[in-house]
Amino acid sequence: METSPATPTAARQKVQSVVIRFAGDSGDGMQLLGDQFTRNSALVGNDIATLPDFPAEIRAPAGTREGVSGFQLQFSSLDIFTPGDDVDVLVAMNPAALVKNLPALRKGGLVVVNSDSFKTGDLTKARLEKSPLEDGTLDGYRVVEAPITVTTVRAVSEHGLNAKQADRCKNFFALGMMYWLYGRSMDSTVEHVKRKFKPPFSDANLAALRAGHDYAGTVELFQAVYEVPKAELRPGKYRNITGNAALALGLVAAADRSGLQIFYGTYPITPASDILHSLAPYKHFNVATYQAEDEIAAVCAAIGASYGGALGVTGTSGPGVALKAEAIGLAVITELPLVVVDVQRGGPSTGLPTKTEQADLMQAMYGRNGEAPMAVLCARSPSDCFEVALEACRIAITYMCPVMLLSDGYVANGAEPWAVPDVADLPRFAPAFRTDPEGFEPYSRDEATLARPWAVPGTPGLEHRIGGLEKQHLTGNVSYDPANHELMCRLRAEKIARIANELPPTRVDGDDSGVLVLGWGSTWGACRTAVQARRDAGQKVGHAHLRWLNPLPKDLGEVLKRYDRVLIPEMNLGQLSKIIRAEFLVDAVPLTKIQGLPFLTREIAEAIARLA
């Protein structure tokens, strides 16, 4: 797929990995810029990992720090798992973007600024007294000042745009510069612009792109052209995918593999709404979406659909899960399949809606009245969302139970290359609906899974009643019998525990002794990279990363015992730590961070080192 690279005039240097961050006003098109560069990097064969960072406002006031939108990308010739700790190249379209993102730039790193946007007015909006270009702020960095606005406007002048429209082409100018810097073919973006924009905007954007590229070459902005060689990726067909998109595809795949309608009942909430947006166009895949009046109605409608023989799925974020708690309890006691997706965000309450966090684990485990055990699993990376969604659906149907799928803002909005699976390799799990009235009992159970029969309305002869009052074993009639209640509470717990019977043994990467890093969810990339770094430094470290949080894998206790110390990094105040400590009485060390931001590799590596 590689197309002819532009011929650079400068020296060509090979590097292993580059972390680049684009930052500008939210109106500046930084996400588009990032997407294009990411795609281009993927096409040249690099491994990639990204981290977008949006402001909370729809359109925060232009030029302010609050309005800064960022996009970070690591591309590499190695297998990488995070968007990188330290930024090598920062592209800053205005002063607010510069000062807000400079702390992430490594000392000696390259900063490219749009020198046209450092006028007094710009500085005021960014709450700056002096220009950071002049007050020593940038000492110790390599600085490239480019008059991006003026040059862009000039470049697109012939296309008849008004001033505002012309200005909005400057992201393509910046992109052109970066393509030059990394010696890239611009074909993929040219194609994209032609497909997505209409004239005169397509022409103007392309003009800006070329102008940026030419400018970088002509004025010899950079001392060298850098090349990041191809990574050694597993052969196959790849696409770049965000967690929310992968999760949506996982649900579509579940409809296909189960033969059931997926009924996605939801109420919009950041950062889960995109799952709805992704699913809505897939009606021809037997995926129905239902935008309910609130989260309670969303989960109830999904349960109603499951009651009718579809697979009810409901997606939300933490505050929405809180609202669904009562209805999830009903799904527990009626033993109907249901998948609840929680794309976690910063809490408590409304918290930090656009930021990431892992602080809903305890809510997932225990956030309901009574003993209401629920299966809980989580996604470790954007592409993992596909597999996890499929697995959640399979378990919900196989065990007739609600399943909580934990994603988070980082996984949901981040993107990575995904080796597109072969559909034939995906498991099939069409349910066996009960149709035989002979000996039918609504609360009889499958011997292995303890699942009760799924007998849906419309089936002749199986008319029966279910509900939220305690059920009599087998008959499902309402029962206030004390011993029966105890039996049923234990059966419901046992059913969830039995899911562990089909979980694979815990995979541990790295060493068999020393420190074990035990992670879950989106800390995966940072844990993995940190463990590698510490092993490279000679420390004995293993890494296990949980997909299933309830039940835990059966061998986990054994695994933990092999190590002197267990470190549990989490983006919360230590929730998995509590579970592990209670379950295994292991003095696990929590490593907690609760800043709305993912871990840096370094933060975990340092914690590992401290346990040496």
């Binding site: 239902y290 309910a292 419309g458």
Partner: protein, 336 residues
């Protein structure tokens, strides 16, 4: 189904012991619904009866159909999901004045505006029965209960005005002890495509005995109840001597003595929303007659039909989805 089964009331009685208080109005409602269901000519397994929580909401246990006793106030939401994905079922919601109008108000009005083809029976006894007698959102102001020892200060909802105001397309009223009328009400609801709503005046003889007695008692009935029939004059009373005429933008009562009087009397028109609102606003406590029957009917597409139509249309337009193709979509590249 080529031939429809023939049922009797008994076919719709489950084996569960009915556990309402002796004398509760719910018994009669149960009997009328069972009788009416037997007459509808739909296979029994096609019925799904969904309820919230309350005395009334125990209804599904006593029906030999599919039944779901859900959680407090949310029955319309469960029913919406069920009906949207299973339009072949005949879906009924049973709810109380607390269940539907207190905790469940939002789901009810959203059901109405969406016009999901679900039939809602609201058992209005103006009290919380199951929790032992607190005032409800239909209790009259000044009601003394355990939770309102000095009298309640919350003005009640008018369930019919709320239904019309939120877009319900079929709005009716009946009474627990009006056996035939109630049976007919149930059958007519079934016939309407879209959300059908009936408010059923129900007596809770334990906590709010006689709430409706002023016009449901055998003695009062004939004089106080206005039986609504589409196209018929709005006349009531034992002697049929009271009638409604328009008065500016409102209703006025006249005595109907002559054929000319009768000609002046307004005729009921179930398609006239403003008239329905005026009739729904009548207040027995102020001496108005109490209309029962169908207040309002509107013809607009049912949500579940539109929902299914989009699923069909998507498949017709795009063909049945090919999963592998979908996964392969987007900007892919091959590593070899």
């Amino acid at each position: 189904m080529s031939t429809n089964p023939v049922y009797s009331k008994k076919d719709f009685s489950s084996d569960q012991m009915v556990r309402w208080c002796p004398g509760c109005g719910d018994y009669s409602i149960l009997a009328q619904v069972q009788t009416a269901f037997a007459d509808l000519g739909i296979p029994r397994e096609k019925f799904a009866v969904i309820a919230g929580i309350g005395c009334s909401s125990r209804f599904p246990y006593y029906m030999q159909t599919y039944g779901f006793h859900t959680i407090h106030g949310r029955a319309p939401a469960f029913a919406s999901g069920l009906k949207a994905s299973r339009p072949d079922l005949s879906v009924w919601v049973v709810t109380g004045d607390g269940d539907s109008l207190s905790i469940g108000g939002n789901h009810l009005i959203h059901l109405f505006r969406r016009n999901v083809d679900v039939n809602v029976m609201l058992f209005n006894n103006r009290i919380y029965g199951l929790t032992k007698g607190q005032y409800s959102p239909t209790s009259e102001i000044g009601k003394r209960t355990k939770s309102s020892p000095m009298g309640s200060i919350d003005a009640p909802f008018n369930p019919l005005l709320l239904a019309i105001g939120s877009g319900c397309t079929y709005v009716s009223r009946s009474v627990d002890v009006f056996t035939k009328h109630l049976q007919e009400s149930v059958k007519k609801m079934h016939a309407h495509k879209g959300t059908s709503f009936v408010e059923i005046y129900q007596n809770c003889n334990i906590f709010n005995d006689g709430a409706w007695a002023g016009f449901t008692d055998r003695g009062a009935r004939d004089e106080k109840v206005l039986y609504l029939e589409d196209g018929q004059p709005l006349i009531w009373g034992k002697a049929q001597r009271h009638g409604f005429v328009t008065n500016g933008f409102g209703l006025a009562v006249i005595e109907v003595n002559t054929p000319e009087d009768e000609a002046r009397v307004l005729r009921h028109d179930v398609s006239n929303k403003v008239l329905a609102q005026a009739l729904a606003a009548l207040d027995h406590a102020k001496g108005d007659p109490v209309p029962v029957g169908v207040f309002y009917v509107e013809d607009r597409p049912a949500y579940d039909e539109l929902f299914q139509a989009q699923l069909r249309e998507a498949s017709e337009k795009n063909g049945k989805g090919d999963l592998q193709k979908l996964l392969n979509q987007g900007d892919t590249w091959v590593v070899s």
